[in-house]
């Protein structure tokens, strides 16, 4: 990092000083890691018996199935969220004031309510009659659809607003109608810059699928909850389950970056702030 905003390119003295800092911090980091490993070893957490289920085909299949369940829940809810987001994002841009207000109310409500409360509510009130596992599955999908949909509605609105104003003006000038301007001119350009934001939202959805544990373990949280009961291996299980989430999310993040580079180029990633007014004025102008 030569001459960034923060520093000039270092001179010989600074380089020497940095080398000393580097050595000190290396020592500290290695010591911390060694301490963690020693703690794990002292508690006998590296014993083969504790890790055995993760190399036993039977349990490995269960883990993979749970992983797949989690991914399916996330995918379904993101699909639902995109639909929800398009509908409410566009109606937030409507010319009719009542439509704007209603969709503003819905979006703000679902953005402000914690997902876990939505899940509790869906589980007991909406899918209460279903068998527990299926009810939990659909509660996750519905709750995440509502929450991520509300977030994506803002993304869609910001995306449409980010299309240069001249585009819409030109479209009106050649005689297009409102729906045509939106469908033919604005949305195709907006979608391109929204795709990375949608994929990043998948990361959020995937992480939030775990919250259903408050009522019932399903997907990877089922493994986290049940496997330690028979093997008494909560530390290895936690590590493996967390690793599953991390790997999936890293793949998604990589995908988002790839798509960003491919379709949007070097332009900034579309970001939607939770504190609306002031921040947005900047992004739209």
């Amino acid at each position: 990092m030569a001459a960034g905003v923060l520093f000039d390119a270092p001179g010989p003295k600074t380089v020497a000083r940095h080398r000393i800092y580097t050595i000190i911090s290396l020592v500290v980091i290695v010591a911390a890691l060694a301490f963690a490993v020693k703690r794990l070893a002292d508690a006998g957490q590296f014993a083969y018996a504790l890790w055995e289920p993760f190399v036993t085909p039977q349990y490995l299949t269960a883990l993979l199935e749970a992983w797949l369940d989690t991914i399916i829940m996330a995918v379904l809810s993101v699909l639902g969220a995109v639909v929800f987001g398009v509908v409410f994002g566009i109606s937030k841009l409507s010319d009719h004031r009542p439509v704007r207000w209603v969709s503003w109310l819905v979006v703000e409500f679902f953005r402000a309510v914690p997902v876990i409360m939505l899940m509790i509510f869906c589980f007991y009130a909406v899918f209460g009659d279903m068998p527990i596992a299926r009810g939990a599955f659909w509660s996750v999908v519905l709750a995440l659809t509502l929450y991520n949909g509300a977030v994506l509605a803002e993304v869609f609105r910001a995306g449409v607003n980010a299309v240069p104003r001249g585009q819409a003006e030109a479209a009106y000038a050649i005689g297009m109608r409102k729906a045509q301007v939106m469908n033919i001119v604005l949305l195709p350009q907006a979608v391109k810059i929204m795709i990375p934001a949608i994929i990043s939202q998948c990361v959020v959805a995937l992480k939030d699928t775990s919250l259903i544990l408050i009522v019932f373990g399903i997907g990877l949280t089922k493994i986290a909850k049940q496997l330690p009961l028979s093997f008494n291996n909560i530390v290895p299980t936690t590590i493996v389950v967390a690793a599953c989430y991390i790997v999936t999310n890293l793949v998604l993040t990589w995908l988002a970056n790839y798509v960003q580079r491919k379709f949007v180029g070097e332009k900034k990633v579309l970001q939607v702030s939770m504190v609306a007014d002031v921040g947005e004025a900047k992004t739209t102008l």
């Binding site: 990092m1 960034g4 905003v5 923060l6 520093f7 000039d8 270092p10 600074t14 940095h18 800092y21 580097t22 911090s25 290396l26 980091i29 703690r39 794990l40 002292d42 508690a43 957490q45 703000e108 409500f109 402000a112 309510v113 914690p114 876990i116 409360m117 509790i120 509510f121 007991y124 009130a125 990361v203 995937l206 699928t209 775990s210 919250l211 544990l213 408050i214 009522v215 949280t221 986290a224 330690p228 909560i234 530390v235 936690t238 590590i239 389950v241 967390a242 989430y245 991390i246 999310n249 890293l250 993040t253 970001q271 702030s273 939770m274 504190v275 609306a276 007014d277 002031v278 921040g279």
Partner: protein, 227 residues
């Protein structure tokens, strides 16, 4: 709605825990995030890599798994917070509360770090170059030119992070803290016929809290804005 009104004191108490969790872990994660971002943008490559690795790992882990680790796994390797047992007024600060604060802090720090970093990245390189060109020393470049702009640019993302934290405190409901979401679950189970009223009541209080934080953020942003 009747159950919600009858048990309103309990609901308020539960929201008290929500706010306390938010304040404790909010302050701590602002500190943690600042330390992380100092490592992240600093000149030492090793610290830079270490902070980046930590941020990437924790950001991609569900908050629930972070809680899960500190609640169930950490005690197995001799890390526990059993010694925390403070009672102030009607609030009990037990190991559950402390665990929640630790998990929320470690998780939120990474997001605060990224928010602050986006603020630093928002300062155009020309600003620093111009400051150096007119002869300001390093401290002057930082104090007069770079940091004020970086700080202002990072207010909105940090505020978003704090609002997310406020909502994330509800994960503590899974791990034994009787805050708003846990209270709602209990009431939902006790009054099966009033689920809508209970949900809407608790949700509205949450909306009020979130709007409050976002209003504070907007007013700070207005106050610190230059032009």
């Amino acid at each position: 709605m009747e159950a919600f009104i009858n048990e309103f004191p309990e609901v308020l108490q539960a929201f008290g825990y929500t706010v306390l969790l938010f304040l404790c872990s909010g302050v701590l994660s602002l500190i943690g995030g600042t330390i992380l971002v100092a490592m992240r943008v600093g000149p030492i490559a090793v610290l830079n890599k270490a902070a980046a690795t930590y941020v990437t790992l924790v950001r991609n882990t569900p908050l629930l798994m972070v809680f899960f680790f500190f609640q169930f796994a950490a005690p197995k390797i001799g890390i526990n917070l059993k010694f925390v047992d403070v009672h102030i007024g009607s609030f009990d600060f037990t190991s559950f509360f402390a665990t929640a604060v630790v998990a929320l802090t470690l998780y939120t720090s990474t997001f605060v770090c990224e928010a602050l970093r986006s603020g630093v990245n928002a300062v155009p390189l020309g600003q620093a170059e111009a400051a150096r060109a007119i002869g300001l020393p390093f401290s002057g470049v930082m104090r007069e030119v770079v940091l004020p702009q970086a700080f202002r640019a990072s207010v909105p993302p940090v505020a978003s992070t704090l609002i997310a934290l406020l909502k994330n405190t509800s994960v503590a409901a899974v791990f034994g803290v009787l805050e708003a979401a846990a209270q709602m679950k209990i009431m939902t189970n006790n009054h099966a016929d009033e689920r809508w009223g209970i949900f809407l009541g608790v949700a509205l209080l949450y909306v009020v809290l979130v709007e409050l934080v976002s209003l504070v953020a907007i007013s700070f942003e207005r106050r610190w804005r230059i032009a």
